[in-house]
Symmetry: C2
């Protein structure tokens, strides 16, 4: 279930996605949150850094820096889009117990695997998140095709 | 089944792991190979770069740079250690069809998930790879505990 805090932090992930788009990149953003505090924020860096690993969630984790295992276990990760297999794997590696995702219509990641491993998934079904992806698909579909490996 | 090429490229992954250890880091290395050519090589960068996402496999993918989807589909990734959930997810994202892993005694990653998704896993059960991990566990166990999120 979405809380007021969830809506607030998802909006921060959307800001990250907008920042990525303004930089000419793929508009997926993420924030890592514990106890009402953002530990790391980030967005997809494929275009900007030539990075094939820094998706939004990965960039947020990277920017949060090295944390103790028990910190991750108290976190929620917010992402504008359903986490791809790589980002899902990172969530499992660090045992982040809760994921709030903006939408999963434009793309559905490895939600089944996350659920099977006990991760709580909350779907916001957020119009702003869908609009981010719809704009990219309309204006720069080649960015997405490369990023998602099709 | 291990081929002569597999042995040769796994030895390159071991060189990467040794390089990481010499830098004060976690000794896990990886190379991404297509048609007998190394496209990218890398090793765990947690200590060196403060990176929580650049495991050996991720670093090799990152250093290979942006590749077309069909390139990944013809690749084998070599890694000195069974791929963790994050690295397994990256392999699935890019649809790399074959993984040669040095060993899976020190740590076993998400092999079951990879197999279920149709990835071919080849286990070298290589003494040099086991020795890399054994030395770290004996001399610097705290490095590993943090990296693998325990």
């Amino acid at each position: 279930m979405m809380t007021d805090d969830d809506r607030r932090f998802l909006a921060e992930a959307v800001k990250e996605a907008e920042l990525g788009w303004a930089e000419g990149g793929i508009p997926v953003g993420s924030v890592l949150v514990k106890d009402g505090e953002i530990l790391g924020r980030g967005h997809n860096r494929r275009q900007q850094n030539g990075s094939v690993t820094l998706h939004g969630e990965m960039d947020a984790l990277e920017n949060a820096g090295r944390l103790r295992a028990d910190v991750y276990k108290g976190c929620t990760i917010y992402t504008t889009l359903s986490p791809c297999p790589m980002c899902s794997g990172a969530i499992l590696l660090y045992q982040i117990p809760r994921v709030v995702m903006g939408e999963n219509v434009s793309f559905q990641g490895d939600e089944e695997h996350l659920r099977a491993k006990g991760v709580e998934l909350v779907l916001a079904d957020d119009p702003a998140c869908k609009a981010l992806m719809a704009r990219m698909m309309a204006e720069r579909p080649e960015l997405w095709a490369e990023d998602i490996g099709v």
